[in-house]
Symmetry: C2
Subunit: 365 residues, 2 copies
Amino acid sequence: MYRKILMRMRMRMMNATRKVVVGWAKEYKRYLSTTTTNQILLSPPLVSVDLPEIWGSTSTLYHHHPSQSPVSHAKIINGKSIAEEITSRVASNVKRMKESIGKVPGLAVILVGQRRDSLTYVRNKIKACEEAGIKSVVAEFPDSCAEEDIMTSLSKFNEDPSVHGILVQLPLPEHLDEEKILNLVSLEKDVDGFHPINMGNLSMRGREPLFVPCTPKGCLELLLRSGVEIVGKKAVVIGRSNIVGLPIALLLQRHHATVTIVHACTKNPERITCEADIVVTAAGVPSLIRSSWLKPGAVVIDVGTCPVEDPSAEYGYRLVGDVCYEEALSIASAVTPVPGGVGPMTIAMLLCNTLDSAKWLYGFT
Amino acid sequence: MYRKILMRMRMRMMNATRKVVVGWAKEYKRYLSTTTTNQILLSPPLVSVDLPEIWGSTSTLYHHHPSQSPVSHAKIINGKSIAEEITSRVASNVKRMKESIGKVPGLAVILVGQRRDSLTYVRNKIKACEEAGIKSVVAEFPDSCAEEDIMTSLSKFNEDPSVHGILVQLPLPEHLDEEKILNLVSLEKDVDGFHPINMGNLSMRGREPLFVPCTPKGCLELLLRSGVEIVGKKAVVIGRSNIVGLPIALLLQRHHATVTIVHACTKNPERITCEADIVVTAAGVPSLIRSSWLKPGAVVIDVGTCPVEDPSAEYGYRLVGDVCYEEALSIASAVTPVPGGVGPMTIAMLLCNTLDSAKWLYGFT
């Protein structure tokens, strides 16, 4: 009797769920396939892709595409050209804004110390701003600077109406309190999306962060533009940093993937990763991901960039990703190269976030 | 040459990692095994259990305990008696506080509407406060109340120095903006831990939320008190709600489990779940988890509570969890019952959070 009641309840729930979720899934797909004029990215507002959390049975709610058989050569996801396309769209939006209301977006960067990688990143960001017509300003501090100096500079940028985005280049020297500094960035100018409120709203269903961190947002855009289906797919994120691993996992989950985060304490990460339809790796370990880590037909997004000595290269070193690129090409269905994959997308997303911030402030669409 | 450099780098990283992480792992275990006077919970501050994110090779950094063979009868994790023990410790802390500084912790509850389950939950929470000597006050509103009325009441509680914890009983009626209401709760009184800043700080490494949501915190405490090792274990969380699934996943990850969240869009959740060492389920589907979903020796925490008709029960219904309890007993190594498992722990954690809040305010230890 009791079992019968249970069975009846489960059947009723299953049927109700299937209808509701399939209905929403259609809506979700429709949303993703719709682009409006002036829309720069495919990434929709996260609230709009939400699905009701109604539980069905163990049966599959979506068509299951069986994993593809090994492909002779994977599609190379050209982040450089996608980023260029996005940047040029940002530039035309900035131009339109300037002509229409006489304003341009402004980005302020706080740079502490002389780390070679940080200097390069900041230089690239400033250059990209210039190309897109975004005004930029860099406040540079010596390695040994006092926390108060940074806080004062940050407060000024928070007040400055010509600054729409503020970026603190990480990592900061050890003696500085990263949490305290990042928390001071005005929520409306937090174009890096690292403020705990933005991160909290990214993690919570039904909430919308003002800004999504740039690298994860770039990874998602690469997936969407490459036509990769995310709903119901198994995704493995390798690495759980606050700036890449965690937010990309949250983002994939909000797009209804089944996400596993693999990290330094994970036992047998290879076995877990090789079951994934989508692999996003941000471990920073050169060539960690061999072909044995990948399921045939998987989509691989390589966030890792590690400089390794190479006397034949222009500067004596070259950038290497987490993925054994040649091996991945022979088994995956799509792969991002390093360099030329995620890197340029990070900067393009920074421009998008800064433009969005200015648009919101001025009510410009 | 290039390959050699890579290999050398990987080897160096592996060795460095092993030393650092194993050192930290010892520290982590030492922390968990240390209890101090007046310490009510085993749950340590999250920052203290952080491990450096240094990547090693695919080799195992921790001793791998092979999954146990099927046990004839699982250990029943008695949430009721653990919760009673915690509540009695809270009570003695409250008594000590009263005797020492003449203050007691205060909890304010906002209750909207007449949902039977909400009424029961609130009644139980108030009763538990009384037993622990915590002052409580309930602001009741009709189903049709205006948002402003709740906001006004909330603001008063925020200002009231005798109130140390504020709880908005969820779910709220549809016409009310849950996000707006929860965001108004003062961060220092957010004993439910649902404020996006607390959630953001829970999700980010190196950060410490002021409060961890009660049900997830209770689940973790059950695991710790049952001696379940979490570091490096595969954990599957079923359900991704803001109040249970998401925060328990974040919490398990902060304790270095490898976490997968299974949800309504997951394909073949049974196959994923049956690989987990730890299963926390909060789907709200009676008897969803059959024995075939469980790995022999798994630890199963059942957060689901669904009322099902039962003419033989006192009120005509009984509470059923997500797990087929009898089946789980025959395959798992430990299981929480429903009722008497997670439920009482949720309330005990609410008392702990309210006590903590008062302790912080008064600087009382």
